[in-house]
Amino acid sequence: MTTRPWKQYICLACGLIYDEEKGDPDGGLPPGTRFEDIPEDWECPLCGVGKADFEPYEPPPHPVVETPATAHHQNDEEPVVIVGAGIAGWSVAEALRGLDPALPITLVTACDGHRYHKPELSVALSRGSGPEDLVQQTGADAAQRLGVRLLPQTYAVGLSTDSRQLRTTRGTLRYRALILAHGAHPLLPAVLPPELCWRVNHLDGFNGLRRALAGGSRRVAVVGAGMIGCELAEDLSASGHRVTLLDRQSAPLETLLPEAARRRLRQHLEEFGVTFLGATEITGINAVGQSKHIATNLHGLIEVDQVVVATGLVTSGRLARQAGLAFENGIVVNPRTLATSADHVYALGDCISLSGTPCRFIEPIAHQARGIAHAITGSSGGDYQHRDPVIRLKTRRLPIVLRGCGDVALPWRTLVDEPDYLHLEQRRGHQVIASLRVGRR
C-alpha cells in the first residue's frame, strides 16, 4: 500500500480528471497508476490530447454551494408564478395563500428573497441598522411558511403568453397565472455610470453602500433631491457623513412641493449639515484613486468618497415588449383587476402604470395584491380601488405629509404658517383636492 495520497490531474483541453487511484483501465492504466508513471504516448480518454496537457488538479476545498432547484416542476399542476420577491411579490403570495391553502405558487426572484421593509433603507444608516436588523425573515423561511417554491438568484428572461411560458435563468416555467411584481430600477443617466454610483433601491445596494461608508466620516454626494434623495441625504448626514445634495432643479422636491414648503425643507436639510447645490448639471464623474470627481456646470469639480444616485425609477419594458403586453411608463393594468393586456398575466407594485402613470408607493400594494388574489382564485369582493396614496417624507424633525392629488396649476392656500409648522391646501371649487403639512405643531 502506498502512503502518498492519490492525486488528480485535469485535462486542460476538455476538463476530464485523471484520478491516480482509479487509473484509466480502458487506456491501459491500471488503478493506482501514478501520473509520473503514465507513458508519454497515453492520450486523454475523452478528447485525445497527450499527458503534457494535464496539470495537477485540486478539488474545490468546500462542497459546491447548494444551488436552487431548476425550474422544472415535479408536479404536473401548473403553478401561479410570481416574478419578484419585494413587498409586492410577497404580498401577493400571502394573499393567494390566504384564499387557497393548496394553490401551487412559485416565486422567481433575482435576489435571495429575504423579506424586509424597503422604505427603511433610506433611514437605516443613522439607526445603525445592518442587514441582520432589516431582514424580517429569510427568503427560505418565508417560502416555507407560505408553502411557496422559491427560486432565488433567478432572472426572468423571456415570456410567451400564448403558451403560458416564463423563461428564467434556471429553466422554463409553465404557469396557470403569472404575476409580475419585478418593480422598477434606478434610472441612471449616461453620465452616472453604475460602477461609480450607488443606488439604494434594494437590500444589496444598501449593504454595498453601508460597507463602503464604514469606518469614519465620508464625503458623500447624493444626486437627485426627490423624496429618496432628501431622505438619504438627511440619513447620511445624521450618520456623521459630509453630504452634498445635488439636483438639476433649484430646490429639493421642486416638482412636488409649493415654494413655501420647499424653502423649509431646504433650510431643514442645511441645518442638518447637508450642502444643497441646486440648478446643478453633472457633466461627468471620474474615479481618481479612492475618490470620485464630479464635474458640474455651476460648481466646478466636487470631490467625494462615494456617490449615491436617486434620480428616479424606471420600469424595464423588455419582458412586456417581448410578450406584447401594453406598456406605458410601466405595465398597463386594468385599474380594478390589475390584469395586464394578456390573458392570465397580472402585475402590481412599482412595475405597473395606471392611466399611464406609475404608482410607486407601498401603501396600495397590499390592496393590489388582494385584488389579484381574488381574481386568480375566483373569489368575490376583492376588486382594487385606486386612491392616491398619502405621501410621507421620512425626514425626522421636519415630517412632510401630502394628501390627495395636487395640481401644479392651482394655487396653495395657507391655513397655518408658524415657525415649525406649515399647513396648506389646494381646492378645486369648494372641494379640497390636496393638503400639505410641513413640520409639527
Binding site: L46, C47, V157, G158, S160, Q165, L196, C197, V307
Partner: protein, 377 residues
C-alpha cells in the same frame, strides 16, 4: 463600414431559396443518415448550397441578410442537422474574415469561401466560454518578434475542418514574462504545423468533420490576423454568432414537426392523447419565428436588451428542439424507433443543438451575467 454604398454598387446575388430547398429535400435528405451515422462529410452538398448563395447571404457584400442566412440554415437543418451545423460553422468563418478588415482575408479567400469553393469552420467554442469566464483559454500565443506570433495548445473538438481547410481561432497572448497580454484572433490553416487527431465516435452528427487539434509553435503571420486585440471583436460579433445558430434549432424542430404531421392521418386518432401536439408546437414555433424576425436586422447590436432577447430565443430554440424531437418520436411510435428513422436521428440532432457552444447552460450563465447589476468596487 460602407455597407450601404456597397449594397448599391455590388452585384448582389441573393440566396436562391428555391434551390436551397431543392438541395435540402433532394440529395441532402437522401444522405442524412450516412452523414449522421457513417461520418460522410457532405462537401459537395455544401458547394451546391454555396452556389445557391446560402453561405454568403449574411455578409455585408451580400446585403447583410441575416434573415435569409438563418432561413437557409433552417431549411437545411430541417432535413439534416449536421449539414445545418456545417453551414453555421462556414457562415461564421466567413463573417470573421469579412469583419476582420484584413484585406488578405477579405479578397480572394473570402470570395472562394462564401461561394463554397473552399471550406472552413470555427474554433471559438473554448474562447467564447473563456471570455465569459466559464473556462480557461486553450491556445497560447507568443510574439515571434516579426509582427507575427507562435501559437501552441490543444482544442478537443473543432468542426468543419480537415487537411487543407481552415478555421477562425483565438489565443491568449502571453508577454515576455509569461503574463496575459490580451487576445489574438486568426485564421488557422490546417497545414503541417497542425496535428489533427480523430475524435471519439459521437452518438450522431458524425459527418461534421470534427477533429482534435494540436498546435505546436504554429506560426501566425499578419496576413492571417482577424483581430488584435480580439476581445472587442468577439464582443461585436457574439450576437451574430449566436443569431445564426437559431436557424439550426428551428430547422431541427421543424423537421420534427414534419415527422409528427407525416403520421397524423394514420395515427392521429391515438396521437391525440399525447402532450405537445403539432398544432401547439407549431404556434410556439411561429412565435419564435416572429421574434427572430425582430432580431435579424441588427446582428451587431451589443445592448443588453438585444443580447438578452437573442440568448433567450436561442435557449428557447434548443429547449423547443428537444421537446419537438421527443414528441415526434412518440408520435411516430415504432417506426420512429427504427435506427435509420429521421425521428431517431433528430433526437441526437436536438441534443446537439442543446449542448453545442453556447449550450443551454452557457446561455443561462450568460443571461444571468447580463442581468446582474453592476456596483462600485
Amino acid at each position: 463600414m460602407n455597407s450601404a454604398l456597397q449594397r448599391a454598387t455590388d452585384d448582389i446575388a441573393p440566396v436562391h431559396m428555391e434551390r436551397v430547398r431543392a438541395i435540402a429535400e433532394g440529395p441532402l435528405a437522401a444522405l442524412a443518415n450516412r452523414i449522421d451515422h457513417d461520418g460522410y462529410y457532405p462537401l459537395e452538398v455544401l458547394a451546391a448550397l454555396g452556389e445557391a448563395g446560402a453561405l454568403a447571404a449574411h455578409l455585408e457584400s451580400h446585403g447583410q441578410r441575416f434573415d435569409l442566412a438563418v432561413d437557409a440554415m433552417r431549411e437545411v437543418s430541417r432535413h439534416c442537422g449536421t449539414t445545418g451545423f456545417l453551414i453555421w460553422a462556414h457562415q461564421v468563418c466567413g463573417l470573421y474574415m469579412e469583419q476582420s478588415g484584413n484585406p488578405h482575408l477579405q479578397g480572394t479567400p473570402l470570395q472562394a469561401h462564401r461561394s463554397g469553393q473552399t471550406f472552413g469552420g470555427t474554433a471559438l467554442s473554448n474562447p467564447m466560454k473563456a471570455l465569459s469566464g466559464i473556462e480557461r483559454m486553450a491556445l497560447i500565443a507568443k510574439a515571434d518578434g516579426h509582427g507575427g506570433y507562435r501559437v501552441s495548445g490543444s482544442l478537443p473538438w473543432v468542426s468543419h475542418i480537415g487537411p487543407g481547410q481552415y478555421c477562425g481561432a483565438l489565443a491568449s497572448i502571453r508577454d515576455d514574462k509569461d503574463q496575459p497580454a490580451g487576445e489574438l484572433m486568426f485564421l488557422l490553416h490546417c497545414n503541417d504545423h497542425v496535428t489533427l487527431r480523430p475524435c471519439p465516435t459521437f452518438s450522431g452528427m458524425e459527418g461534421s468533420s470534427t477533429w482534435g487539434l494540436r498546435l505546436d509553435h504554429y506560426p501566425v503571420v499578419p496576413e492571417q490576423i482577424i483581430a488584435e486585440p480580439a476581445a472587442p471583436f468577439v464582443s461585436r460579433i457574439r450576437g451574430a454568432f449566436i443569431l445564426l445558430q437559431i436557424g439550426m434549432a428551428l430547422g431541427v424542430a421543424e423537421g420534427a414537426l414534419d415527422s409528427m404531421q407525416e403520421v397524423e392521418s394514420q395515427l392521429g386518432h391515438v396521437n391525440k392523447f399525447l402532450h405537445d401536439r403539432p398544432e401547439a408546437l407549431r404556434r410556439e414555433f411561429d412565435d419564435m419565428g416572429r421574434r427572430l424576425a425582430g432580431l435579424t436586422g441588427t446582428p451587431y447590436a451589443t445592448d443588453r436588451d438585444y443580447l438578452l432577447d437573442l440568448l433567450d430565443l436561442r435557449a428557447q430554440g434548443a429547449e423547443f428542439a428537444l421537446r419537438a424531437a421527443q414528441s415526434a418520436m412518440l408520435h411516430q411510435g415504432a417506426r420512429g424507433y427504427v435506427m435509420s428513422a429521421a425521428a431517431q436521428r433528430r433526437l441526437r440532432e436536438a441534443q446537439f443543438v442543446a449542448i453545442v457552444t453556447p449550450a443551454i447552460k452557457h446561455l443561462r450563465w450568460e443571461m444571468d451575467r447580463l442581468s446582474r447589476e453592476e456596483w462600485p468596487q
